[in-house]
Symmetry: C2
Subunit: 121 residues, 2 copies
DNA sequence: CAGAATCCCTGCCGATACTG
DNA sequence: CAGTATCGGCAGGGATTCTG
């Protein structure tokens, strides 16, 4: 059991899910990678996200210490996002998840066929 | 871009998230590991889950080909759940996520302190 | 024992318009 | 450019009761 910020988790994986789960967070982290992206650039690489959701998710990632936000006080405004060390430490996991999904999709038909045959025995 | 079951994903990681995301799925998979668990046993190891949610999530995992469901036609009923090969192939990821969460929680204070100092420069 | 059925509600997420 | 503000849908999740 693990406590963190007023929440209790049975397993530390629940914490991981709470931190990078949801529809956008993992995708944002993955697109950042070791690059630095401006807000408008993020909107281009993740075209489906609305400004509200993007801002909200970025703020939560910042609060978790996974993303850094660098503000240039100038006009027009400029803000750059990048991963912190903690954020970078997630990249191997995200990479593996990405590859797993790819492989899963490729083998889906084949696997389901096998399961079906096993069931009919 | 990747299409799967009437859904489109920008990245195969989105597919992975769709398959094992949500509040319970990863936890269910993790607890199964290489064991076989009965329905009632699963309720014990994941005490917070309601029967409705547990059944629903197990069915979705079964439809995805990640979990096997073995029914013993007897009275009283007995149903055993276990991971398929595809499900087992997720275990390394789940394991890494678990360790990452643990490590994140341990180093949180320290990391946040560092970020704060960096900001004040 | 292993669930199905029913009712209900929160909060995630989206669309659109507006602003320093 | 980098966001807020406002409104609102709806699906994910929950509590409780019932059944083969």
């Amino acid at each position: 059991m693990i406590k963190f910020k007023n929440n209790e988790y049975q397993c530390s994986m629940e914490l991981t899910i709470a931190l990078i789960g949801g529809k956008w967070k993992a995708l944002i982290l993955w697109h950042l990678g070791d690059k630095t992206l401006r807000y408008s650039e993020m909107r281009k690489v993740i075209p489906n996200v609305t400004p509200k959701m993007l801002t909200q998710q970025l703020r939560e990632l910042e609060d978790s210490g996974l993303v850094k936000r660098l503000i240039y006080t100038q006009i027009p405004p400029k803000v750059e996002y990048s991963l912190t060390k903690a954020g970078q430490s997630l990249l191997p996991i995200l990479d593996t998840m990405c590859k797993w999904g790819q492989n899963y999709a490729n083998e889906y038909e084949h696997n389901m066929q096998e399961l079906k045959l096993a069931k009919e025995e």
